[in-house]
Amino acid sequence: MELAVEVAGVKLANPVILASGTAGYGIELSSLVDLSRVGALVLKSVTLEPRKGNPEPRVWETAAGMLNSIGLENVGVQALIADIIPALEGLGTPVFASIAGDTVRSYARLAARIQGAGGVDALEVNVSCPNVEKGGIQFGVDPGATSAIVMSVKENCDLPVFVKLTAAVADISRIAVAAQKAGADGLTLINTIPGLAIDPATRTPRLGGVIGGLSGPAIKPVALKAIWECYEATGLPIIGGGGICDTGDVLEFLIAGASAVSVGTALFRDPGRVLDIIDELPGAIERAGARSAGELTGTLTETSR
């Protein structure tokens, strides 16, 4: 059974990736999960300067998912380059850095810094964080802003560039096409969806940042639709994620059009889940009548049973 896939020139031993934000900088998980066995590691998004993030509480469990309002707390690109990327050398799996800015220029500078430092295999451009006052999702809902960011990133680095989009738009394929025309090598779909949880006793929000990003199985159908539409519209390699808990979910994401998948929220309850999925994937692919992971990508048949 062939599990290996190639996404925008990045060779993955298997298609199961750790999603940005949920795996920290990898180091935190390394004693619990043999990271050399995962398809790739996507690091937590960094900004030009370190950020403290949003007020606590920052997480709230909701039906079949959770809301988070971390607010892009991160160590900043300097610490990423100086401390984290060197610590991940020899990890044995591709590392994606994720960048988030509040101006087009800041994305360009982040890309240039990371390109210059080396040590990562690809760049994920986060234009879809719902938890920041400036930038984030405001860029990702706007094809023009997305396009400008992608162009500036591509001008400043030679790494494969994946653009992480939000599904909180009327037509995600428009944004995806804009990213593609600007030079994106791939897409990461989807970021968390903006949401709100309320404590009725106090009539206050459950989260310190008021709104948060919804993740987990609750958003899986939204993610699948976004992947299917973007695959049809662009044909770009897609890293798909949103509530993946088991191999059945992985198959759905591949069939919708993903070449690789990312696991996030499911790690919280069981960090080893990602390795279970990888172990069980060959059997699941075989039962689905395919000989490789790649063979399933984009095979949705548009007739219902």
Binding site: G21, T22, A23, G24, Y25, E28, L29, S31, L32, K44, K52, G53, P55, E56, P57, R58, V59, W60, E61, A63, A64, G65, M66, N68, I70, E73, G208, G216, P217, G243, C245, T265, A266, L267, F268, R269, D270, P271, G272
Partner: protein, 275 residues
């Protein structure tokens, strides 16, 4: 004084419920046997485990619970004790487990209390804050260390009966005066620190109580360790959900930098509360 007990590398394992006992209405002592025998690290007071309560796709987050005691830990068998108040889906589920039921555990996690070498300690517990502090007191009993324990409850009905078996001096406070002293346990701590010479204060309980205890300890010049709670995600410092503000305005992660902190490291403005 030694550094606050360093974090250990937690491991995931299945655990089987061996014993369940209702300690007071809605509060249960749960004893779990770790399947496959004891892992490398034995928990110290103040450390916690993440419980996978088996919520399927409906409940995605684990529930962090402070260790309440080590019932047995030898070459073959590890049995851990937790004190759990049924307050939501996860804790309700745990409190209604039957003997032989399985859960998933990840731990021990975080930094626990570190015991001062000698002298007398003051332990101040509010409500469910008794969970780690009873464990700490039991360990101090085993090491023949001197301490007084002040424990606050809403009323006599919430009193935690095993407290009577501790060797240290135990003083009880209730909000309604139905048992022991009437009033806040933090008030009791204030009086104690004026009179007796303590070399350390260890506290866990509601945020407001810990803020007061940390303040009076600092005024009295006695080092104080606090065990904080916060809404957690991963439990290992990766997701940055459970941060509180440190005194240098830096972010402290309750799960991995704590949950036990030296009180002077905490800003005491937005720190998490026990519910």
């Amino acid at each position: 004084m030694a550094d606050i007990a360093s974090p250990t590398r937690g491991v995931t394992c299945a655990a089987t419920l061996e014993r369940r006992e209702e300690a007071s209405p809605g509060v249960f002592i749960l004893e779990f046997r770790l399947d496959g025998g004891p892992p490398v690290a034995q928990p110290v007071p103040g450390q916690f485990y993440q419980f996978n309560c088996g919520g399927g796709r409906e409940h995605m987050l684990p529930r962090p619970l402070s260790v309440h005691g080590v019932t047995r830990w030898d070459d073959e068998v590890a049995v851990l004790k937790f004190l759990v108040e049924s307050v939501g889906w996860g804790t309700e589920r745990l409190c209604s487990l039957e003997d032989g039921d399985e859960v998933g555990l990840l731990g021990p996690l975080g930094r626990g209390f570190s015991l001062a070498e000698d002298g007398k300690a003051l332990l101040v517990a509010g409500g469910m804050g008794i969970a780690p502090l009873f464990f700490l007191a039991s360990e101090m009993d085993r090491g023949d260390k001197e301490y007084d324990l002040l424990a606050g409850f809403r009323s006599a009905g919430q009193f935690y009966r095993p407290l009577s078996g501790l060797k240290g001096g135990v003083d009880v406070y209730t909000d309604d005066g139905s048992l022991g002293n009437r009033g806040m346990v933090s008030g009791g701590a204030d009086g104690r620190l004026e009179g007796v010479v303590y070399n350390a204060v260890y506290t866990c309980g509601p945020q407001a109580m810990m803020t007061v205890v940390a303040g009076i300890s600092e005024e009295a010049g006695v080092p104080c360790q606090v065990s904080l709670a916060s809404r957690m995600g991963c439990g290992i410092g990766a997701c940055r959900s459970c941060v509180i503000e440190g005194r240098g305005a830096e972010n402290l992660c309750v799960c991995s930098d704590g949950p036990v902190f030296e009180s002077y490291k905490v800003a005491w403005t937005g720190a998490g509360d026990i519910e």
